[in-house]
Amino acid sequence: MSEGHEFHGEPLLRVENLGIAAGSTPLVSELSFSMAAGERIGLIGESGSGKSLTATALLGLLPEELALTGSAHLRGFAPELFTAGDKAMRGLRGDEISMVFQEPLSALNPLMKVGAQVAEVMLVHRTVPTRAAAQRRAVELLASVKIPDPAQAAGAYPHQLSGGQRQRVMIAMALANDPQLLLADEPTTALDVTVQSQVLELISAQVRERGTGLLFITHDLAVVANMCTRVLVLNKGRLVESGDIDTIFTAPAHPYTRALLAASDISATDARGRLFTVDTAAGYVPPALRTEVAKEPAAGAPERSVRPAGDGLITATNLGRTYHRARIRAFGPRPVVKALDGVGFSIAAGERVGIVGESGSGKTTLLRILAGLDAPSTGSAVVAGTEVAGASEADLAPLRRQLQIVFQDPMGSLDPRMKVADIIAEPLLVPGHKLDARGREAAVHRMLGLVGLEPESASRYPHQFSGGQRQRISIARALVNRPSILVADEPVSALDVSVRAQVLNLIADLVDEYALTLLMVSHDLSVVRHLCDRVIVMKDGRIVETGDTEQIYNNPAHPYTAQLVASSLELAEELAPNP
């Protein structure tokens, strides 16, 4: 079987003319594909492309208000899936077709022990004779997904496990009855990089071992290249292209596929050193071809002529931040959590510094302290001439003018009841600004133009914008009072790939134009690599390594950094010829 989609005999899954509509609005239309037994197919597309709806439809769990047309057949199951009815589908769900969801914390019942949740799926389908047998089998399954101390983990509640462990529980649950088909909906998007690669490896190993068919939904092309043999590309509910991984990634036929590929390949830049976007994708050369041709010097951040000089604009000395947890024993001491522990560094004016690390590494706590939103327990941090430790709100006023933040979630960080004009103008209302109403209006319009939004946007509300546009609004708000330091906390992690490149280009341009000092937190190493000159690597509240970006990437000194670099999936590497 040289090509995955040419198979003999009955396919495992055959979907014909799948259509999903909300009233008269089509969400998915004319989607047809089939999957051979044990085949691994990637379903890629951006948010709103209909990829999750497709999986939900196959499971028979679409919300009632959506209309479903077309047909789907599963091998060994006589009725057509879309018309089989809930009772028949119940027999399939969790038994022949199962699903792993994106957010493992909310997908597990918080009030039920995970062992019982795994056991339940076997009891529902009576694949084990007794409750005790189900419990025993659950522990075995937890062991097979490599959860340490599975017997103890079975008695734990979801909140007592880490994110990666929770997703392993979900996988154990999905595979408990040896399904023919596993649907995985962005199963690693909510996980840390090092955990992501482990979980992907686990899913890959399990489906290969059991011969399970896999429909893997993701927006991340590097993940698809790693996991699947064949790809379906969805755009606005339509299948625009499908084919083998190699074909799709080296010779994309459809302009959208090419655009998606270009936008997600963050190691490639155009002639001006900017990331490719959907608009500039025509000039993009897919990585597989690029490596074949020659080692282009395109990778990495563009060389900047101005090197930072002078004293530290931000200086942290021995910073610590501890939290107290609730007592475990009545008269024992309260356990202490060290979110930051002896962190020290200095950042010069004009530098672009990235902070990388996993969740819980203390990177967000560090940002909050530098921004004056949290107070350090020990040590000192001087930011643009203001000592943050022990400062009162009045002391922090100059800092608030000098430092502005762009937050991760463009949905949650903008007040939904404020107009865009008021959101952007708000930093100008702090005492000390002498702009009148007209001056503020002019400033708002200038900023909207700068971040590439229409002037009419000023009178609208945040919910009327897409995620990328909202992040542009956040950037406009951050820069309106001309700060010297821009802090960005995961600014693109909530955005689609095609938008990600545009926002990163915008940040890069504005940092140059405003001569900003950039401090960016990200779990995504490729983003940091593109934007930053220097990297600070954090783990468990400490800095484990710091240095020049390229040097850290090519020659990580600390084992943890090496692990981070190795775990990060990049398109070019995933497409490199497999041994």
Binding site: F101, L111, V121
Partner: protein
């Protein structure tokens, strides 16, 4: 878990101590010397002073407080300044009446509201769900005493099925006790269940949109099975909060229903004591009400700990 319950208990004891101080202080701040009130308007200062000595109200406040407090400890509220009778047995009687009435009413309200609210949530976009929601809106608008009067005029006066009012202790005549309880309990539970339906409905609706319910469906559970096995316990947490608040409010709020049905409960006792300016009785009843409220809160806190494992290990130090 035990640490948390011990903490709850400690907080309960401290709150109770603080409450005795607050109640005592409040009563002293109110105008009117108990001895002068008891002696009547035309009494000579000597008579008043004599009564004050007899009541002990001429002693320093800390001594009076200690006297009252140590009495409470033994379950002795003292002797009323107005009726000159022992308060404790009276209060004990009334507490029993009120607790029976309120607990039964709350149980009935929950028994109606949990299924009704769940159905209203599951069928929120169908007529039957809308009917339940509308009925609960209406129920909230109807005052309990009105419902009581309507019930009495229909079931007691027109049909003669049940006695119109009164109270018999359960030990004396259980059938009489039960038959007299039916109408007031329904009158009291009506509004409560109407209020609770709304909370149950919104709690269940919220749970229905949770990812773990989708997971349960993906395992092959039926919609109802998923809701019962994974949803209801999660939905119970907000409902528990409302129930505890409503329960405390109900103990004193039952006073109107007690009037309508001529039931000798705590609320009635408090009102008549206030009307008679019977200071020590007011103080005793208020103290009992505060204690009951605290006990209910304690029970709910312990229930939270049992229902929700996350509360057992909740981090408290996070700013």
């Amino acid at each position: 878990m035990l640490v948390r319950i011990a903490g709850n208990l400690a907080r309960f004891v401290l709150s109770l101590l603080a409450a005795t101080l607050a109640v005592f202080a409040l009563m002293r701040v109110l105008p009117g010397d108990p001895a002068a009130i008891a002696a009547g308007e035309n009494a000579t200062p000597e008579v008043v002073a004599g009564l004050a000595r007899q009541f002990g109200t001429d002693r320093p406040l800390p001594v009076q407080y200690w006297d009252w407090f140590s009495g409470l400890w033994r379950g002795d509220f003292g002797v009323s300044y107005v009726t000159r009778t022992d308060i404790s047995p009276l209060v004990a009687d009334k507490v029993q009446v009120s607790l029976i009435l309120v607990t039964l009413a709350m149980a009935l309200a929950l028994a109606l509201a949990i299924p009704a609210g769940t159905i209203a949530a599951v069928r929120h976009n169908r007529p039957s769900g809308a009917v339940i929601s509308a009925a609960s809106q209406l129920g909230i608008a109807i005052p309990g005493f009105l419902l009581g009067i309507v019930l009495v005029s229909f079931f007691a006066l027109r049909l003669g099925w049940l006695p119109a009012n009164g109270w018999v202790a359960p030990g004396v005549d259980f059938a009489g006790f039960a038959s007299r309880l039916v109408l007031p309990v329904i009158a009291l539970a009506g509004v409560q269940s109407a209020i609770l339906v709304r909370y149950v409905r919104s709690a269940v609706l919220e749970v229905m949109h949770e990812d773990y319910l989708r997971t349960a469906r993906a395992k092959g559970l039926s919609p109802l099975g998923a809701l019962v096995r994974h949803g209801l316990r999660n939905a119970a947490i907000p409902v528990l909060t409302v129930t505890s608040v409503q329960f405390s409010a109900l103990i004193i709020g039952a006073v109107v229903i007690e009037r309508v049905f001529v039931i000798p409960g705590l609320g009635s006792m408090l009102l008549s004591a206030v009307a008679n300016r019977d200071l020590l009785t007011v103080q005793s009843v208020v103290m009992v009400l505060v204690a009951l409220t605290l006990v209910v809160n304690l029970l709910v806190d312990v229930l939270y700990t049992i229902v929700d494992p996350r509360i057992r290990a909740a981090a408290q130090g996070e700013r």
